[in-house]
């Protein structure tokens, strides 16, 4: 098994920036990512796509090319299409590439596993035709697909970005049905000075809204009673706006009410996580360099708390500086000298966050779904089931998992975990921290038994 100074998991902004900085400082780095090309979700396929439709996707997207360029360094091995499924002490990292299991050793590991869409369980969200807004963006970026008759539903600046991109592609969405209210905006305004320091984000948001408005896209805010109708596929979105019920026929529904850290890998290693009330999610507990409470495990990017692509890039570089110092490549003084401008840039990037988090809070009815709504897509468990298990004494999600299989399917709780914690916390009158989260174990992603068996050194002929 090959050993490296540093193994980075995830080739998004944090992982790419960390790899480039660490390599420059003399570390040998292996970067593993499950996608076949670098960029993460935010800069997905940027090397190929920037020339094709950079005009639609915008300058922020094209910026990703500066990061992919940084990977062309002799000390960086980028394993593309490598799906990590176990990280064990030592560290021993098991992954699948080209249908075969393999392993790599590392002195230190940096997890840059990014974010997931916050689960948005509303009636009908499992129907074909309903996707995350992030999925809509990925389809546009990577595959050049635009939904012909789409409704964008939920809350957050990402909805405006997608709508603006769809407008530029010549196929505007049918409507934007947003759940944030005017009072959310007023609550957010007391963080306006922070937001003004991050004025670029506000200005971009306003420009996108103007673009969407010019295209004549209908916009509803403060929408409630969201319900996707259809039997075998999404046929319409029904909702209430200012006391009136609306029904918009459509073939595609893009859901979004924020993104949350993808904590699977960190949790499998036992990194401590704490509930972040403002972002309504669990974030890992880290020091200013991204060092976790598991010795040797570092983290950077949206997987540590949502801050966006620029903040992720900065965090990746900061972690790399600390790692270079820890492994003896630079002095502490040199580390701090290089880190100083990054710390200030990070503070600037963070300035707009409180405003955005409060102006676009998660959709209340998706945070506490009605009993009949499916919350675990894999095992088809409803919110009512979870509430019943709470009445049977379940204090935490590992007990409801045993009782009703929520979190046991192939997605391993990625799209039900936060909902289950929220439902149990509410039912038991506990905090999310007291309620806890799923015990995450390998495999982090499914792996065939044949691949596993081929790695069994006890019996060499087992996987024939």
């Amino acid at each position: 098994m090959q050993r490296h100074d540093l193994v980075i998991i995830g080739a998004g902004p944090a992982g790419m920036a960390a790899a480039a900085t660490a390599a420059e400082l003399g570390l040998s780095v292996t970067l593993l990512d499950e996608q076949s090309r670098p960029g993460g979700q935010i800069y997905r396929d940027v090397d190929r796509v920037a020339a094709l439709r950079g005009d639609i996707l915008g300058a922020d997207y094209i910026h990703g090319r500066s990061l992919t360029a940084g990977l062309h360094h002799g000390a960086i091995t980028h394993l593309e299409g490598a799906t990590v499924w176990a990280i064990e002490d030592g560290f021993r990292i098991s992954y699948t590439k080209d249908g075969r299991g393999a392993q790599i050793g590392a002195e230190r590991v940096l997890l840059a596993t990014g974010a997931l869409e916050r689960p948005m369980p509303v009636p009908g969200w499992t129907l074909p035709g309903v996707m995350t807004a992030g999925a809509g963006q990925i389809l546009l970026k990577q595959s050049g697909l635009v939904a012909r008759q789409a409704v964008l539903v939920g809350a957050g600046p990402l909805l405006y970005l997608i709508a603006a991109q769809m407008v530029r592609a010549g196929t505007p969405p049918l409507a934007m049905v947003e759940t944030q209210t005017r009072s959310d905006l007023f609550r957010a305004l007391r963080h306006l000075d922070g937001a003004l320091r991050g004025w670029r984000y506000l200005a971009k948001g306003l420009a996108m809204l103007a673009e969407i408005k010019r295209a004549g896209v209908a916009r509803y805010t403060g929408a409630t009673g969201l319900r996707i109708e259809g039997t075998d596929k999404a046929e319409a979105l029904r909702f209430t706006h200012r006391g009136r019920t609306h029904r918009i026929a459509c073939t595609t529904v893009f859901l979004h009410h924020g993104v949350v850290p993808n904590t699977q890998a960190a949790r499998s290693l036992g990194v401590t996580h704490r509930w972040d009330t403002r972002q309504a999610c669990f974030n890992p507990v880290l020091d200013g360099w991204g060092q976790s409470d598991v010795p040797g495990i570092f983290m950077a990017g949206d997987g540590t708390g949502i801050g966006g692509a620029k903040a992720a890039e900065i965090a990746g570089r900061l972690a790399a500086l600390k790692l270079a110092e820890a492994l003896g490549h630079i002095s502490a003084a040199e580390r701090d000298r290089r880190a100083a401008p990054l710390h200030s840039a990070k503070a600037r990037e963070r300035a707009a966050r409180p405003f955005l988090d409060l102006a676009y809070p998660p959709c209340a009815e998706a945070m506490a779904p009605e009993d009949a709504t499916t919350i675990c897509r894999c095992e088809e468990v409803t919110a009512g089931d979870i509430r019943r298990y709470a009445a049977l004494g379940c204090l935490g999600p590992n007990q409801t998992k045993a009782f009703g299989r929520a979190g046991m399917g192939p997605c391993q709780g990625r799209y039900c975990g936060l909902t289950v914690t929220a439902l149990l916390a509410e039912a038991n009158g506990q905090t999310p921290d007291e309620t806890g989260y799923y015990r995450i174990r390998p495999p982090l992603k499914p792996v065939t038994l044949g691949e596993l068996a081929a790695m069994d050194h006890g019996s060499q002929d087992a996987a024939e």
Partner: protein, 366 residues
């Protein structure tokens, strides 16, 4: 005194006993731990199993047989009471063998046990071809199997849920998130919990799995239980591939193939390891080659609760009469006995089962 019985431990063992006591009209309070506690009830393999049990102690084989025989009624009663099926299949189970030698050696041991049991040990030996008729997906490396007709498997999680529901339905009080720290007996028993909760009881049952090693000595028990890790795998849901369960693999009622299990002496470490997963995968594929293409979706490690000889311990405290230790490795197999027969023993009924061989007197004083 608030309750006839206080039961420390709300896993399958504790709840099965609670259920049996409630059914007799006794009052019961169960004190259960938190979400993160080691819980064999959540991690076990789910077999209702007779073969290979009690090779050196026929009474244990018998006790397992008795429970297997009671399981059908037990599951049916729970299902009827809760309105939710407790899946159980008792159409026999296999001990699969990859060599003639191990098969023959095992058969000889079974024959010896059969004689001690007065002939009640219904098994047959299937050669590869006979086995293939029963299990079309069996691999060429499997030379044969012992098919034991008293074996079967259940859904242990649905059992746990049904017990949790039915114990409450019958008026059992279940306190969750409790860690019992002290048990005293000024007059009747008083149990004190870490959070300040206090429960008074006429009798106390310690059914806390590995927790008994800590609490047991305070109640006058040796409680020599240790953890032994078992790693278990489960695949995606698949079409029917395996008919009868074995110690290597079984197809659960939801469709996944469950593969087990390692036996590791690693203390209180319930993590899974790549070598553990790979070894189990290799063995399962040797038994059922089609599994090579199946996706492993989950794995877990759970800690067996083992006594030095692997047998259950049923013991009343000599220093604190009225306190009982109930612990075993096979909580699922023995659940029916614990629910139907153990209450007689606890209550000292005339018809109580003879559990003398399971007392702590078998362990040397250290």
């Amino acid at each position: 005194m608030e309750t006839d019985y206080a039961i420390i431990g709300g896993g399958v063992v504790g709840l099965s006993v609670a259920w049996g006591l409630l059914r007799r009209g006794l009052t019961v309070t169960v004190l259960d731990g938190d979400d993160g506690a080691f819980r064999a009830s959540r991690g076990n393999f789910g077999l209702v199993w007779v073969q290979s049990k009690g090779m050196n102690q026929p009474r244990y084989a018998q006790w397992s047989q008795q429970s297997a025989a009671l399981w059908g009624d037990f599951a049916a009663e729970l299902s009827a009471a809760t309105g939710q099926r407790v899946p159980l299949e008792q159409r026999g189970g296999y001990d699969l063998h990859f060599s003639e030698e191990t098969l023959q050696a095992t058969v000889e041991k079974y024959l010896a046990l059969k004689e001690k049991l007065g002939g009640d040990y219904p098994f047959e030996v299937l050669g590869h071809n006979a086995l293939r008729k029963e299990e079309p997906h069996i691999g060429p490396k499997v030379v044969g199997a012992i098919l034991h007709h008293q074996d079967g498997h259940a859904n242990p999680l649905k059992l746990l849920k049904a017990l949790a529901g039915d114990v409450r339905r019958m008026g059992g009080r279940v306190l969750t998130g409790k860690t019992v720290t002290e048990v005293t007996k000024p007059d009747s028993f008083v149990l004190s919990c870490a959070d300040g909760t206090s429960v008074g009881a006429g009798k106390v049952i310690l059914a806390a799995g590995l927790g008994a090693a800590v609490l047991g000595p305070k109640l006058g028990f040796k409680a020599p239980v240790r953890p032994q890790r078992g790693q278990v795998l489960i695949t995606e849901k698949l079409p029917k591939l395996i008919n009868r369960p074995s110690l290597i693999a079984r197809q659960v009622d939801e469709g996944g193939i469950q593969i087990g299990a390692t036996n590791e002496e690693v203390g209180h470490d319930d993590r899974v390891t790549q070598p553990g997963l790979s070894g189990l995968a290799a063995e399962a594929i040797a038994a059922f080659p089609a599994l090579a293409k199946a996706q492993l979706v989950r794995s877990w490690g759970a800690l067996r609760v083992l006594s030095p000889d692997g047998l259950p311990i049923y013991q009343e405290s000599t220093s604190l009469p009225g306190a009982f230790l109930v612990t075993c490795h096979s909580g699922i197999t023995l659940a029916a006995c614990h629910a139907h027969l153990l209450p007689d023993w606890l209550e000292g009924a005339a018809s109580k089962p003879d559990l003398e061989v399971f007392s702590e007197s078998r362990f040397a004083v250290s």
